[in-house]
Structures are given as C-alpha cells and as structure tokens.
C-alpha cells in the first residue's frame, strides 16, 4: 500500500517527553474467503512514559488486532504495514527472532482471559522465572527469587509457597495477577493490556485495575489499555482513542472526550451504555444497525449508515482524523458543529422510555421458597468417597409476578445460575418449594403434565452462537419447539412468521443459518425460540453479556417491549449490574448461595443497605472521569470463598468491611448467627440480611 496518507499530527506533548511508543499509520489485513479483511486501517498514536492510552471499541473494531500488531503476535497470514516505533526502532518487518528479543523485554502484554493465558503444566513460579530468564542472564535460583518477589508485588498472599502452585490452583483474579507479573517481569517500557478485566467479576476487576496501576507505577511504563468498557477507561486512561471499523474516529484527553463526545459514534456509544450512576434513570438510546464488515468497505464514513446527523458528503468521502480546537482529534465532517454545541450528535433521536407504570400486581408466575441445592464433593478415582458438600443454593426464596422482572445478581459462584437451573428443571428440589403458575413442581408426576408445564417456562442462553444448532436454518430452529408441542405444519409456518416479526427480524432471516447472522440477530432468534410456546416465564441467563454495547441497547429495548406486550415474567441472571438496572423491576443480590438483599431496583441502587451490595455497586466503573476519579469506593478484600466451607454465621463475614469496624457483640453474632432478612422501614419489599447495619 503506497497511498500517501497524511499522518495526523499528534497533540503537543505536555511535558515534552519523548514517546516510548509511536505507531504510525498501522494497517493490518487478514485474508478471508470473501477477500481481505481490513481489520486496522491506518492507526497512529504516541504513548508517553507513565501515561495510559485507552483504546475503546466494539468487537471487530480492530482494537485487539492493533495490540497484536504492536506485539508482533499476529498470525503469519496477516499483512502488517506502517510503523511501530519502540524507542526509535521500527518493529514492523522484523523477523520472529528479532521481535522475540523485544517482546517481554521492552513490551509486556496482559491478555484477556487469565484462565487460558497460563500454561497449565508449569507452576506459576516456573512460568515467571522462565519469563525472566528469556531476557536476563540469571541462575535458576535467582530467577525463582525474583519470581517470588514479583508475585508478592502483584498482591499474591504467601508468594513463596504459592509460586510452587499450578495455574489451576488459582482463581481467575489471582491468575490475572500472575499474568500481570509476567508482563512486568523485565520492566518493560510499554505495557499492552487487551481487555484485562473483561473475564472477571466486578469486585475483582476493581482489584486488578489497581494492580495494573501499581505495575505501571513500578515500571514507569506507558500503558495501552484496550477495552470495550467505557467505565474502565474513564477511571484509568489519560487519553482515549475510540476505534470504529479499523480506525481511530476520535482521540482526545479523557476529560474532553467524556465532557463532549464529538464523533457521533462516541456520543451514541456513551448514550447506549447502561450506567449505575446515582441520580436519574437515563433512558438508553440504541444505535441502529450493525458495525460494517471490513471486507470491501464502501466509500464514505463507515458510520454514516448508522449516524443520525450524516450528510451526503459523509457517504462519499471518509473523513480524516483532524484536530478540533480545544478537544482533540475527530474524524467527522461535522466535528466543529458538534464541538461548539450547535449540533446534537444523537440527531434528536427520541430515547426509548421504559413503560413508566409498572404493574407488580399480576398473578404470581413463580414462587420459590427456601430453595436448597447442594453438590457432593467426591474424592478417589474408582470408589468415590463423599468428602464434603458444596452448598450452591442455601435457602433462597422470591416471588415473581406476570409482567415483572427479577434480576439475580452476584459474583460468579454465588449460586445465581444454579437457582435458575433448579427452576427450569421442573423437579422436586432438594429442599424448599418451587411453584410455577400456581403448580407446585413436586406434585407434577406425569410426563405429559410436565411437558405442559415446560411450555410455561423457557430460557434464553448467554451465548446465542453456542445455544443455536449451527446446522439448522432459523426456520427449523423456531419450528423445533412448536413441533415438540405437536403443532401442525400450517400453524407452525404462520407462528414462525409471527415470531420473527415479534422480535423485529426480517422474514428472510428464516432461511439463514445462525453463522450468517450478527450477534444481535442471533440473540433475537434465541428470544424468538424461547417465545415460541407462549411461555409465562422467561429465564434469561446473562442475555446480553455476549453482545456489543451498541447492540445491547436494542436487545434491552426489545425485551422491555415484549414484556409490555405479552405480559411476560423475566427471571434475569446477570453479572453486569448496569444492565440489570435497566431490565429489572426488582433485584435480589446473591452471595454464596444466600440472598443478602432484595428490593425494588431503584431503591437498591439509591439506598443499598447490605455491605456486600454497597461494595458490588461501588465496584462498577462509571463512564465519567470526574466522578470515577473522585468517588469513594469500597474495594472488597480477597475473593468469594468456596461454598464448600460456609461460615457458621453470616456468609459474608470474611470479606465484610463492616465486620472489621463492628463492636465485639455484633462481631460475635456475625460469626455465629446467620442473619435473617429484615425489612427496611418505609421501603416495602426492601429486605436485607445483616447484623451490623
């Protein structure tokens, strides 16, 4: 590619320091059957020592490809052009041998999924000392000593002992600490973190971000923080680049960007993110359409087709990134108008309001009382001995009415999915009672009756690609549940047309296979499939976590509309509290198999009582740099203990910040007596289980 693309001048460096990393017109393309995929189309930036550049974008925007391109870790089929200047040396075009001397030495990388990023057959001490010995001439013993020091630095308790452990003996958060330790082992001048906290729980995410900040301070490295989470960059980045369709579309300081997002895409992205800010419940504005495919991009701005304020000029020429006074660099022809406030980038699109009046008075669709589920822990290869009991769900109870949504929230391992699956199992639970539409499931004996009950309860899965059979076209996928209940051909055909219209899909989608659909469309198919038998209760297991922000908002609005029109009851399990806030009327916060607090969504967000709820809420990063950096946060110590060894008293006692401050008599009760749910005065339905509040 010999096109003379002008490299935009970078903002003047405030300190005048020389950048540790300069990327100039980076272009990456991958071959595919449809033609070359232009994953990155001309990215340029400078990274100063000690500074953090946040790269934000949705999946497929090219942010991970950029990271891999900088690291020289792209697959050999990829085509990489441009310049990656590290300390003045261009890394593009270097061979694997030459690059390997740079990787891990001058650049360290933190990967997304700590569960698969560590070699399972080596101890973490071995992994770390190997990483050290690649670049430093150290004896095995000296490297091990340094490895232990590094483990201590990233906050692994008892590092000397733990260094001998294997990755599978660590939790996700602890493994990510090890990955960070490996990245900073040789004191690199640049750290690249690719979605470092996406796979982790929010409370652990807060800890890991702190470790990352510490690592950066220790090494003085410049950090490239890649994420889809605007909240994370708001709190941690100095500069932000927004990526769309393989290019930076806006690049500015964090305060400027959040104060007035100037590229319409950025503005719409911020409007589409559910937040947990205190104050008013802001309606979500979805961005219509889908991100473009990066094969044979049409001329013009790639966002034009989804943009509310696009002009004709937008569809013919792709705007370059150019400086906007007092803001940063924006790739939009109307940037000046938006920057001075004379144009609303949302184009006056009416936000979709949720139905204001909520009827919590419908018939009770689901009643769960005192539900218990345990799993045996066994040992031995041939003869399994029971050595313990994992109490996954412990005395959980709630009620759900037609037209109402209950959100179950909590960290992974809190028992929320188990609760959901117990409800869906339609069998007599191990302990307690489950009542669906007035029928106690333990009284249902015959298969025929069970089948009838099954029609009333359906599930929407987390990963729509995994949940839909890839070998069936959408029509057959939707026909399956209808055939199962014995509908005839004609009525199946008409019902499928109805269902597709209901979830906002074109009838032509019926002939396509799931692989040919976008993520949002797939999840709509998943929802349509669940709705086929006209259920009363829909169980939604992390329905949005596999979707991009801009698509998420559309599905949230769809779910709200369906509930309004069909009077469905939703039981939602999600770890993303911001999303839960948008879809739920009521929330139940779970910790180690217990519901620690329950109440109306807005009441809980405005006035959380239980210390765990407070910590959970405060751990969520807010996409607003001012508040994110000044607000007081409750960062929980440690991680959720195993449900195999429940404390005798309150399940939360080991991590509770209130327990540490409480008086001796309260502490005694916390340790020995399980707190019973108590009603908050003046807030009907708001209950929490805590001795110390």
């Amino acid at each position: 590619m010999t096109l003379a693309t002008t490299v935009p001048t970078q903002p003047a460096t405030p300190t005048g320091a020389t950048p540790v990393l300069s990327v100039r017109d980076l272009r990456i393309s991958f071959p595919s059957e449809a033609g070359p995929v232009q994953a990155v189309r001309g990215v340029s930036f400078d990274l100063l020592p000690g500074r953090t550049l946040g790269i934000v974008g949705e999946s497929g925007s090219g942010k991970s490809a950029t990271a891999m391109g900088i690291m020289g870790l792209l697959p050999p089929t990829a085509d990489l052009r441009g310049q990656v200047l590290l300390g003045g040396r261009d890394l593009v075009g270097l061979g694997d041998k030459a690059l390997s001397e740079v990787r891990g030495n001058a650049i360290g990388m933190v990967f997304q999924d700590p569960l698969s990023a560590l070699t399972p057959i080596f101890s973490v001490g071995r992994l770390l000392s190997d990483a050290l010995r690649v670049h430093q001439d150290l004896s095995k013993r000296a490297a091990w000593e340094q490895a232990v020091e590094l483990l201590g630095l990233v906050g692994i308790p008892d590092p000397r002992e733990r260094a001998k452990s294997f990755p599978h003996e660590f939790s996700g958060g602890m493994r990510q600490r090890v990955v960070i330790a490996m990245a900073i082992a040789n004191k690199p001048s640049v750290l690249v973190a690719d979605e470092p906290t996406t796979a982790l729980d929010v409370t652990v995410q807060a800890q890991i971000l702190d470790v990352l900040r510490l690592a950066q301070r220790e090494t003085g490295a410049g950090l490239v923080l890649i994420t889809h989470d605007l909240g994370v960059v708001a709190g941690h980045a100095d500069d932000i680049a927004v990526m769309y369709a393989g290019r930076f579309v806006e690049q500015a300081g964090v305060r400027e960007l959040f104060r007035r997002p100037t590229m319409p895409y950025t503005a719409r992205l911020l409007a589409a993110v559910p937040t947990v800010d205190s104050g008013v419940h802001r309606p979500l504005v979805p961005i219509g359409g889908e991100p473009p495919r990066l094969v044979d991009l049409p001329p013009g701005c790639p966002f034009a087709s989804r943009c509310a304020v696009a002009l004709d000029a937008c569809r013919t020429d792709e705007p370059e990134l150019r400086e906007v006074t007092g803001h940063g660099h924006v790739a939009c022809v109307r940037a000046d108008e938006i920057a001075d406030g004379s144009l609303d980038p949302a184009g006056g699109v009416a936000p979709v309001h949720r139905a204001a009046e909520r009827s919590g008075t419908g018939e009770v669709v689901l009643r769960v009382e005192d539900l218990v589920k345990t799993f045996p822990i066994t040992k031995g290869a041939l003869l399994k001995r029971r050595v313990g009991t994992l109490r996954a769900v412990n005395g959980v109870g709630f009620e759900l009415r037609a037209g109402e949504t209950l959100g179950l929230v909590g960290e992974s391992g809190s028992g929320k999915t188990t609760t959901l699956l117990e409800v869906l199992r339609l069998r007599k639970p191990e302990g307690g009672r489950i009542e669906i539409a007035g029928t106690d499931v333990s009284t249902v004996e015959t298969t025929a009756r069970k089948r009838e009950l099954r029609r009333d309860v359906q599930i929407v899965m987390q990963d729509p690609l995994g949940a839909l059979d890839p070998r069936l076209p959408v029509f057959d996928l939707l026909a399956e549940p209808l055939q199962a209940i014995g509908r005839d051909r004609e009525s199946i055909r008409s019902r499928i047309a109805e269902l597709l219209a209901l979830v906002g899909l074109d009838p032509s989608v019926g002939d396509r296979f799931p692989a040919a659909l976008s993520g949002g469309q797939r999840q709509r198919v998943g929802i349509a499939r669940a709705l086929a038998t006209e259920p009363k209760l829909l169980a939604l297991d992390e329905p949005l976590s596999a979707l991009d922000v801009s698509v998420q908002a559309g599905v949230i609005n769809l779910l709200a509309r369906l509930q309004r029109e069909l009077g469905l009851a939703y039981l939602v399990v999600a770890h993303d509290l911001a999303v839960v806030r948008y879809v739920s009327d009521r929330i139940a916060v779970m910790y180690l198999g217990h519901i620690v607090e329950t109440g109306d969504t807005e009441t809980i967000f405005a006035d959380p009582k239980h210390p765990y709820t407070r910590a959970l809420l405060s751990a969520i990063p807010v996409p607003d740099p001012e508040r994110e950096r000044t607000r007081e946060r409750v960062v929980l110590q440690g991680e959720q203990p195993s449900a195999a060894r429940l404390p005798a008293g309150c399940a939360f006692v080991d991590r509770c910040p209130l327990y540490r401050l409480a008086a001796d008599d309260v502490r005694e009760r916390c340790r020995t007596e399980r707190p019973a749910p108590a009603e908050v005065a003046g807030q009907p339905g708001h209950q929490y289980a805590c001795h110390a509040v």
Partner: protein, 327 residues
C-alpha cells in the same frame, strides 16, 4: 514415585495371573490337540493319541482341573510354561522368538514415533502450507495401503535395487545368513537383514503418530498460553516446543506405551513376508496347531507387555505433566 510404581506393578501382576489362567481354561476348551493326529496315516486310535499327548500334560482324558494344576505349579515353581503337542518347549520358543521380535520391532517403533511426532510437529506449525499438504497426502495414502502390499512393494524395490546396483546387501528373507561367524560379522549381518522389515514397519507405524500428533498439537498450538509465552519473549517455535508440545505429547506417550504388546505380537504379515520367526507368527502357529501351552504363554507375554506399557505411560504422564501428583 517408587512406591507408586510398585503398587501399580503389583496390581498389574495380579491382573496378569488372572488373565493368563482364564486364557488357559479358554484355550483348553477351544483348542483340541487330538485333531492334530486326525490327518496322520495310519489312523491312530484314541488311546494312542491320548498316550502321545500325556507326557506334555495335554491328555484330554485327564480332568481339566488336574491338567491346570500341573501346568500352574510348573509355571509357578519352575517357570516352565509347558510343551507343545509335539513336545517342543514353550520357554525355548518364546525366549528365542521374543528376542527376534524385539530386534524387529524396537528400532521400527522408535523410528515410527520419532518420525511421526517430528512430522506432526513440523506440519502442525505449518498448517495448510504446502509441506503440510504434501506430507498429509502421503501419510493418508500410506495409511490406506495394506501391510502385505507395502511389504511386497518394499521387497520388489529391494530386488530391483540389488539387481541394478549389482549388490546383495538388501536381504529380503530371514533374520540372518547361515555360515556367518565372529561377533562383528554376525551383528553386521543381522543389521543388514533388519533394513527392509524395519523400513516396512516404520512406514506402517509412523502414519498414525503423524496424523494424531498433528491433530493434538493443533489443539494446543493456538491456545492463549502459547501466545502468552511468545509475549514473554520466546520465538513462535520455542513457544510451541516448550509450551504447546509438552501438553500435546501426553496422549501420544500413552498410546505408544499401550501399543507395545500389539506391535510385538501383531507384526504377523511383515514377519511372514520377510521370513522372520517372531512372536506374531508364533501366535498364529500355536493357535492353528492347537498348542494350548504356547497360546497361553503368548497371551501371558502380551499381558506382561501391556502392564509394562501402562506403567511406562504413567511414568511418562507424570514426567510430562507435573500437575499429576503421585499420591
């Protein structure tokens, strides 16, 4: 580790004893040495046949339990595995033939594993490259050639080479030449005889390792941890060798260990074509000649090899994957 291996070995020993005795009873029920005499002229009477078999503890008129007890005490006390219906000592046969087989299969197995795994690693790191496509095509073709055809093809090529080169160093039959004396000439002569059968067995054996090792390595080669290893400063080749290959070798190690008995007793066709008197042919002969003691001894031999293979597989797994703590 020593204690663990001892415990495993004892368990396997028990298994061998049970399996061997079960085989004794099965063989005695199904193999009738009397039928060997049916073809002989003049026709022998029942008494004559029984008398002829009696010295070898094969007399059908003696109750089976008595014969078993005699056989069992013989094995247990003197490690005497009995005699064939014609009076040949099983111990001698097995002792001689297992060495012949070992000579034949050990080199071939080592070569198969080394070539197969090396090719698997080489091609997996170049998936869909031309080297991968070519070797895969060759391997699949070889995979589909029956051993007899391959062996005969090797023989023909060798004869052609011998004729055209005017040499006679490629021996197509037998395990040694007669009238060779002295240590070095004997060893040299045996090695020359080994060339062609080893070539055939290697050709037949490497394919499986190539294809499975390639598939196994492809499963781990794109794993995130390989990329992490690269990110710490290893080249791609180093990262694959140190991080991906080790995990991918575990199933191969187990399959090599467990294939030991079958390659020892299963090289029948190769042995037949090249005229080697190894365990494979012995196994077939004992069954066709109603040699109860020979059959049982072969089964016991295979069982012992299985046990050795299993223990080797365990040791290899612990060595390759330190997560498997020996308890």
């Amino acid at each position: 580790m020593v204690r663990y291996v001892t415990r495993k070995a004892l368990g396997w020993l028990l298994m061998i004893v049970v399996a061997t005795n079960a085989t004794y009873f099965l063989a005695s029920w199904f193999l009738d040495p009397r039928s060997n005499f049916k073809e002989l002229r003049p026709v022998r009477s029942e008494e004559q046949i029984d008398r002829a078999l009696a010295p070898y503890n094969l007399d059908p008129s003696v109750p089976l339990v008595h014969r078993w007890w005699d056989w069992f005490t013989g094995v247990f006390l003197r490690f005497d595995w009995g005699k064939s219906p014609t009076g040949v000592s099983v111990n001698g046969e097995i002792g001689y033939r297992s060495l012949i087989s070992a000579e034949l299969v050990v080199i071939a197995t080592v070569l198969s594993v080394v070539i197969g795994v090396a090719l698997g690693v080489y091609t997996a790191s170049r998936q869909y490259g031309w080297a991968d496509r070519v070797t895969q095509a060759v391997s699949i073709a070889v995979f589909n050639i029956p051993t007899s055809v391959a062996a005969l093809a090797v023989v023909f090529v060798a004869i052609w080479l011998n004729q055209h080169a005017g040499l006679h160093f490629l021996y197509v039959a037998g395990e040694n030449s007669p009238n060779v004396e002295g240590l070095l000439p004997t060893v040299g002569d045996r090695l020359l005889h080994l060339i062609l059968p080893t070539l055939t067995l290697t050709l037949m054996g490497y394919v499986g390792y190539h294809l499975t090792q390639r598939a196994l390595l492809l499963d781990t080669i794109n794993a995130e941890f390989v990329r992490t290893a690269q990110a710490t400063g290893l080249t791609r080749t180093q990262a694959i060798r140190r991080h991906a290959l080790r995990a991918a070798l575990i199933p191969t190690a187990a399959s090599v260990a467990f294939s030991i008995p079958s390659i020892f007793t299963g090289a029948i066709i190769t042995e037949t074509i090249f005229g080697w008197n190894g365990m494979g042919r012995y196994f077939i002969q004992t069954i066709s000649k109603n040699d109860v003691h020979g059959t049982v001894a072969t089964a016991a031999f295979a069982a012992a090899l299985t046990a050795i293979g299993a223990i080797l597989a365990d040791i290899a797994t612990v060595f390759l994957d330190p997560r498997v703590r020996v308890s």
